[in-house]
Symmetry: D3
Subunit: 242 residues, 6 copies
């Protein structure tokens, strides 16, 4: 059940590594489009430094406001290639994660963190090259008093994440791909990117999207009215008021 | 009329290029002050990378939430030196603009984008050096289903923008100068900057703004009371309560 | 009294320089923890460029929305090693501070600014290396019409700051250490950092926080239940519903 | 020019009273739709008590943050049937308006206030039945130090308002109708309301909007796929992943 | 899959009516506690009038920003005792729902609406007694151009909702109970309420929660230190700094 | 020290009852003005029902996010005429307080609560007539795991509150009067109200604030320019651009 506390699942089924590698080639926007425009986490999650980027399998964490205990429980579950993803039981922006936990996560093979709360020690994390997407930077410390869960399904920043799902994150945000769909989405992303390469060339040469995408007709059917100049617009306005 | 849909004006009167070049020499804060402290767009519009900077003439776009169709219509209207400026019919933060549109805009001579919504592909845009001021970064894609307008007057981030107005944007935000006032404002900005250079030298030498700006008298008339130390302040507090 | 207007105190007792130097060695998160998890200003205060960092003694400023007059009064009070800290009488995000004031502050020995309002000329400030923590960047200019105070106790971003207190700021935010506690906190921070160095080494070697901090027992007492795999979790869910 | 300070215009052209009376019959949502879905002020403007409602001609006020001086200048310009509409030079939520100003406005024939800032004395205003739409309730007092303007065009909550325009406000928000369009919009609103009455009867009888509005065909063309039950949905999902 | 578009499921399994009736006896806070402190939708969803209250089975709607087409599709799916619950593909606060749709929903037996967007015609809805929980009131109209879905799983205000789940809403917010857990949760809520009745009597008689809940011991073990008066506190502070 | 945890002070010095009774006669806005425009808590604190109103002496509570343990400790400290005032160690909007605690507080003589977090059971509290000012309504429950403090100085919603200070709250918000200033402020509020009564009569008779407050001269000196009509304004604009 979403949001239950007191459970830690040791072994999870992860998306297959080939699909993760394949998805790692694409940006978040491309993957989101390839999935049919779904899977994004809320855009208030931002990387703590520009250029941050990762693709891995989710170890999920459910935590309570102002309490980072479960991050320590999660460290034990991390396998190389994993990304920790933390959702909370209510809105919170305390600094649950810093360079010590990052050191531990990295030692376990963890690639980074997506946290629907805040992060601190960002100068050190930037130097370590340990990427974090958080809703805020905040030095505020947390307690270790209340149980959440590890590796149960969670809601993180408005998206449902299951343990083992693929998480891709870059400067544009974070997207989650359900593990069962990873191969399919990677293939769709590849097709989309191939197609966009051609489009990009045409647009770069000065061709218009109106023509590349064949929009002139639909625009016209929708009733778009081209006016020659601002005088024509003024005339139209005057007419409407008479 | 502000906010009407279904119109695209092909030819607009742009601010004269000399004034645009003149305004390009100044920062947003200086121009805003030179205009009499008006013309700023709301400060939630931020550049997608530090150091972004542009000055150009506005091609205006009116769009609906989650719909970027009009950006394609606008591409055709862009002339070298133009800046696309997009306002929406209601609050929206979807990723209406990315690297493909930027490629198209650049091929048409467009200098950049000011958008009261979100932008994506920011890593690519940073690499291209294509500057965008937006309210958010968001990978969320949009549809092409509902007509807005191009080159009609719009409200963007709380400011009125007419097609052809001068738009200047930098790390401090975005300012719009009505085309009829461009020359006048450029001259006022130059005067202000010249005056500030002298002030800067005096302040750098340790002279106080109190003296440079002659504020001591007005402060005194307004009733500012200098106390020698914190003991004097404590005495004053005690007196007030007795 | 907090928030009184019309007072400027010339001479204040500052934290002793040795303690300030000692505190300057530590990050904001460490100092906040060393104080017993207090002293942070609200995390909406952000540095205007990454890597900004300072430690100094507070010259406090109380100002009204849209009015930066008191910043000029404060310039006279700055001594080498001071940090200006500005609180307002109500929520405001106008650009009260820019490169001219920074030039003046620097000439007086000021190290930087913490402002519960906005700042402008950020490109110039970045180039000068003059650090500012503000709630927003905003080119919006301000008036000089209404008296506030200088060197009276203020609330800045939700924290109480007395003149002469130590202010430390970095990428993680801003912390204030009451002057009477400066030495004690510096010592506690040093102890904490020494202890963390050992912890970091252990974590880097792959040891788990669960063991380093001895958490297994308390987790177990709190009722954490380890499940072998997702099938066990599904079984548990099914059981709950029967 | 939008946002200029230091001007007070004594006599303005107001929308004709017949059109104002006609518009007063309709709700904000209806008028907004009748105008072609434009003219709304941002929805953060809320009435200070439920059931508040007004329709009148705008006396516009441009004010600076934390300064309510211009409200006193505006009082003199109010004629019976007017509504004061206040925009600010930057984001502000101080309590610029209370029961004394309401007493004065009412004595001049003013019907109410729309303010892109805050209001206080709301218990008294509720008792007086003096309606105000504001962005917040706030007891915070303001100064009278800096000139704004009265009866110049303003931006209020993201909408352009000219002196004399019609302002209609109710529980749904605030809409402004340009005076030149008042008659036309009132007529369109009447047509819309008449049409909606018929629709309402049909819907109340259990007929579906799908049929009343004839949507089945367009939905089908757009590709809507009806599934009999959740099992069919599960089958579809499984198919997508294979 | 969460967030897929273009699907409408006609027949769904609803929570059994007995459990819905049982849950209808309890407040949102009680149910949330009885579930183990889960199931709440984000608290930004507020009733459009005080005292609004409902309990029913969810017909889910997935819609795109600024587009209310799917609400019409959903009307056909409503059965007596249903509650429409709408999630969006991205943050939106347009007025997707008003009195005409409410008339239609009511005619179909719909009890109310929970919408992660805005609602309009709130005066009429209040008069009809048709309850809506929304993130905002907004007169802004929407288009009917892009397909979403009806009766697929959705995320609404940060919570996962399946078609047929029980939705209870009151002045405190909105909670969703998975249909498979409805009976179990109703029973737990009844137990909780019975227990609270006793507690309430004891507290009303002046007994302290410290004793009723037996907290004195745990507080003491956690280290709570009782001081006789403020002088003792001052002494403690002085000691800390020496 | 602000924000220390683990302390509960049993006996505090309260403002004298006569001053509290005197202050109870005035509204929050009046008291805030009488204090010299200080003392307000941030306006995001809102009453949970309209018309709520109280004046009493503060029992202060410092709590951690998502943890309401200290409210139970505070119950024991409440004396008739007290108001509980809760600040938190970081931003939090969980439902820390509901009808059981209200029952307990009332039994102890507590008049109400001011909480920089959320409250639940608002329908019951409204029925009980137990007033609460909170930042949000939220059914989200909290834990009892981490010590805060009772009756130490706190920051609540940006204001410094000492135990025993006078708290007055109404529809306009919340103001705190330091106990040492209570008598002085009550007297000043009485003078202000007496003066306002006369002003109100004059304004009600149609006299203008411009004359009542003698503003014409200062406005003129500040440079306010009266124009006869909009034509004069247009002429002025044209001149500026030439």
């Amino acid at each position: 059940m979403i949001g239950q506390s007191g459970i830690a699942v040791r072994n999870i089924t992860r998306a297959d590594p080939t699909s993760v590698s394949a998805l790692a080639q694409f940006g978040v926007a491309t993957i989101h489009e390839a999935m049919g425009r779904v899977g994004l986490l809320a855009p208030y999650l931002r990387p703590i430094y520009p250029g941050a980027r990762l693709a891995g399998t989710a170890v999920t964490i459910f935590a309570h406001p102002g309490d980072n205990w479960m991050l320590h429980v999660a460290a034990e579950m991390l396998r190389p290639g994993d990304v920790a993803v933390l959702g909370t039981s209510s809105d919170n922006a305390d600094g649950m994660f810093g360079d010590l936990l990052a050191t531990s996560f990295r030692a376990r093979g963890g690639l980074g963190l997506v946290i629907d709360a805040a992060c601190r020690d960002v100068a050190e994390l930037r130097e370590m090259g340990f990427p974090v997407w958080s809703k805020r930077v905040n030095a505020k410390g947390t307690v270790k008093a209340t149980l959440g869960s590890v590796n149960t399904p969670i809601i993180c920043a408005g998206a449902l994440v299951h343990p083992g799902d693929v998480v891709v994150a870059d400067d544009d945000g974070v997207v989650v791909v359900p593990k069962a769909r990873a191969a399919e989405v990677a293939a769709a992303a590849a097709r989309r990117e191939a197609k966009e390469a051609g489009t990009r060339r045409r647009l770069a040469s000065g061709e218009l999207g109106l023509d590349v995408y064949g929009m002139r007709d639909t625009l016209s059917k929708a009733g778009l009215r081209y006016l020659e100049d601002e005088a024509a617009l003024a005339a139209l306005d005057a007419e409407a008021q008479s």
